[in-house]
């Protein structure tokens, strides 16, 4: 299995500001992903974080709003930019390891 940590675990932010979420994995992994879970909803894939190249975004998500970095095979960051209350969600990173997907504990973001 893979052990994943995320920082911060939660935050309350004002609209118009940005927050960067960090994801650290205890082993090198090729595939790393970022998901969003809006209140009471299921998970939606934001993007695939590619090491050494730009992230690949899903429909409805853009780089200007959710810039992602992946400097190495154990670390990634997701920034939520120019936040609005609609961005209040849990943001989770995940990795593919041995065919299975493992998730970090999530970052609970509240935008006021």
């Amino acid at each position: 299995s893979a052990v994943i940590s995320q920082k911060p675990s939660r935050d309350i932010c004002q609209r118009g500001t940005s927050l960067t979420i960090q994801c650290q994995v205890d082993s090198q992994v090729t595939m790393m992903f970022w998901y969003r879970q809006q209140p009471g909803q299921s998970l939606t894939l934001i993007a695939t974080a590619n090491q050494g190249s730009e992230a690949t975004y899903e429909s409805g998500f853009v780089i200007d709003k959710f810039p992602i970095s992946r400097p190495n095979l154990t670390f990634s960051t997701l920034t939520v930019s120019n936040m609005s209350p609609e961005d209040s969600s849990i943001y989770l990173c995940s990795v593919l390891h041995g065919g299975r997907q493992y998730f970090g504990p999530g970052t609970r973001l509240t935008v006021t």
Binding site: Q41, T48, G106
Partner: protein
């Protein structure tokens, strides 16, 4: 794209009861996984089961890929089984998962 439907959306059980959760998907998949999200939000990978049957303690899962459905069985339920159960599928070798809407399970003591 692939559609993933889970049923029932909500389930309330008395401790000790058994239950079956269902996941239907609209197209061929090469990966299906079941997750449990506990009340604190942590997602735990229960099964990687693109086909066949697997068992892990009181939990077991069966996927019939040709008929495009998977079942998760919970036997002798405990209060700690409460939470949301998600089925997720991957259509191609991209690692990208498409999640169902989940089944919210409440086990009462």
């Amino acid at each position: 794209g692939i559609q993933v439907e889970q049923s029932p959306p909500d389930l309330i059980l008395q401790e000790g009861a058994n239950s079956t959760l269902r996941c239907n998907f609209s197209d061929s998949v090469n990966n299906l996984q079941w997750f449990h999200q506990n009340p604190w939000g942590q997602l735990i990978n229960l099964f990687y089961i693109p086909s066949g049957t697997k068992q892990n303690g009181r939990l077991s899962a069966t996927t019939v890929a040709t008929e495009r459905y998977s079942l998760l069985y919970i036997s002798s339920s405990q209060t700690t089984d409460s939470g949301v159960y998600f089925c997720a599928v991957e259509a191609s070798n991209t690692g990208k998962l498409i999640f169902g809407q989940g089944t919210t399970l409440q086990v009462k003591p």
